[in-house]
Symmetry: C2
DNA sequence: TGTAATTCGGATAATTTTATCCGAATTACA
DNA sequence: TGTAATTCGGATAAAATTATCCGAATTACA
């Protein structure tokens, strides 16, 4: 469904959002907080930054933050890391699949695509910060 | 969502089902019919055979068939190639994710899992053979 | 002003997935 | 009975994904 890189990205973003408000979140805190390999995670954070989903500050006491006032949903994160394929491509990999030239599952799969789209658009980072703090959900 | 191998498997099985009834379907026919690399496809067909989803006959005029009288749904094919991960594993990759110890999306993702499960269980190979013959759906 | 903490980016390595090659065995049939 | 068509399985290669390493640059702060 999602690449491993993408699952790291989602978890990292949720963690950063919930640790922010006041402070920045360092790579090491993130990697520990989501149980991911830190060097690999660093690459992913850079991708997110370049897409504008994160801001970073270099140097001692530096770290990552969700851009202030920006509201981010899961879809943006998924698209930033895995691209639009999940939503836009044929699930059977056909280049020319469309409603005029459908693959076998084209029609039935629309429902699932729509469900996924709804799910990813409706889930925004702040939805989770309370629960992370309460420890009613986990990231590792 | 599905591995490339799995998409080949699904398309191959649909093709074999629709070409069978009478005759066997050779590797070359399959690879052409679904536009896949034939040597790689051969490996996948072997996996399907070992899981009992295909039978094969060796030698000239040999080929592959869906086991007579056996009804096969997409879920069986997906599980045979990609394993049960899609349905059973946490979508964020957490080893210990459960309703007691949920990841952030655990609950909302249940809906999608259920939709996917329903979709894959309800779609069986014979559903497509008519449409393949009519050419109202395509495999490449 | 020096040092430690940190992000950044390039290079490389390991692992997994996808793909190719080839020789052996089997079978239909001319 | 010989040959062509075919499946089968092992070995290898290529490509993509995941992961590690390291040196450079920046910054806080003692």
């Amino acid at each position: 469904m999602f690449s491993k890189a993408c699952t790291y990205a989602i978890k990292a973003m949720i963690l950063i959002k919930s640790c922010n408000e006041d402070k920045k979140c360092s790579l090491q805190e993130i990697a520990k907080g989501i149980n991911s390999p830190s060097a690999f995670t660093a690459k992913i954070l850079q991708q997110l930054r370049k897409k504008g989903l994160l801001v970073s500050t270099i140097g001692a006491k530096g770290g990552f933050q969700i851009p202030p006032k920006k509201q981010i949903c899961l879809l943006e994160i998924v698209e930033a890391i895995d691209g639009k394929g999940l939503i836009e491509s044929c699930v059977l990999g056909l280049k020319k699949c469309s409603s005029l030239n459908p693959c076998p599952v084209h029609e039935k799969y629309q429902n699932i695509k729509n469900e996924m789209l709804k799910f990813m658009m409706e889930s925004s980072l702040e939805d989770y910060t309370e629960k992370i703090k309460n420890r009613t959900i986990t990231l590792k």
